[in-house]
Amino acid sequence: MDLAQTIAPFVRASNHVFKQLLDLNINKGQAEPEGDNFVSQGFTVMVGLTGGWQGWFFLDMSQDTAIKLAGLMTGEAYDNVDNEEVLLAGAEIANIISGNALTDINNLNSGVSIRLTPPSVFAGEGMSMFNVKLNAYSVLLQTDAGNIKINVVMKEAK
């Protein structure tokens, strides 16, 4: 399994979902190195993956961007990330992206059959995520609503 098999389907799915669901274009995508930890911009949605390959999908953005995305999704104005609807909107976006990406991965790699856990959302200051199998590179997607960072942790199940 390499980056083309793991993170690329999530990049494609993000591109598609942001365009279709939120009418948001991704202007530029670039790789960004991560250290031992995945460093959050303030708002992270995590979706767990199990099956032949297991791991996590991280969708990360600033709290400001999360508020904007929730607004684009529901058409309402939010002023605080403390609002449950903002968290739910973020969870839903990550859920749709990972659903799309997994359809892709499962079609391309026979026998892998990955399944998703429900998304969980974390927001806070100075957050970092630690996982032993973290990808050394995240993909930073630049949009009009702000930078959105994605990372995928993936390993073969024993």
Partner: protein
């Protein structure tokens, strides 16, 4: 959510903690989570898929986390919350949930679990699995621990 599932998670955590040298762990309370804020800066999340679908989050304060990690590593002093204690805590959570999964298997509930991820930060708010979350409180010499169980039946 059925209480027999909750018991499997409690049993798994207590058994594995004891094995790793945290002997004083005892359950002190159980309630529903009614707010998004969490006072704990260390959260270890694990996902479940199968007959049960959801997430389990073990959370504690940083000082507790360092003491637990130190105990697990045979009393080696932990002064900084870096990769070493983080990976120790991930392993604790992984083993505890693995144990819980085999408890669940005994009552005919088959699940597979994701590898753990540790989230560290301040002033955090969180929404786990988008469903009602059961919080089980534990206390130990090292400090308080909380197990957040958010499962869709």
């Amino acid at each position: 959510m059925d209480v027999k599932y909750v018991n499997a998670f409690i049993a798994g955590l207590i058994e594995v903690s004891g094995m790793l040298g945290i002997n004083s762990l005892a359950r002190t309370g159980l309630n529903k989570r009614d707010h998004l804020k969490t006072e704990n800066d260390v959260n270890i999340i694990l996902g479940l898929v199968g007959d049960l679908k959801g997430n389990v989050v073990l959370s504690m304060q940083e000082t507790t986390a360092m003491k637990v990690a130190s105990k697990m590593m045979g009393g080696m002093p932990v002064t900084e919350f870096d990769v070493m204690p983080k990976s120790a805590l991930c392993e604790l959570s992984n083993m505890a949930n693995g144990r819980s999964a085999s408890e669940l298997e005994k009552i005919g509930v088959m699940t597979s679990i994701t590898p753990p991820t540790l989230i560290h930060g301040r002033n955090m708010i969180s929404l786990i699995s988008q469903v009602e979350t059961v919080v089980v409180q534990f206390s130990a010499q090292e400090g308080g621990l909380e197990l957040n169980i958010a499962i869709e039946d």
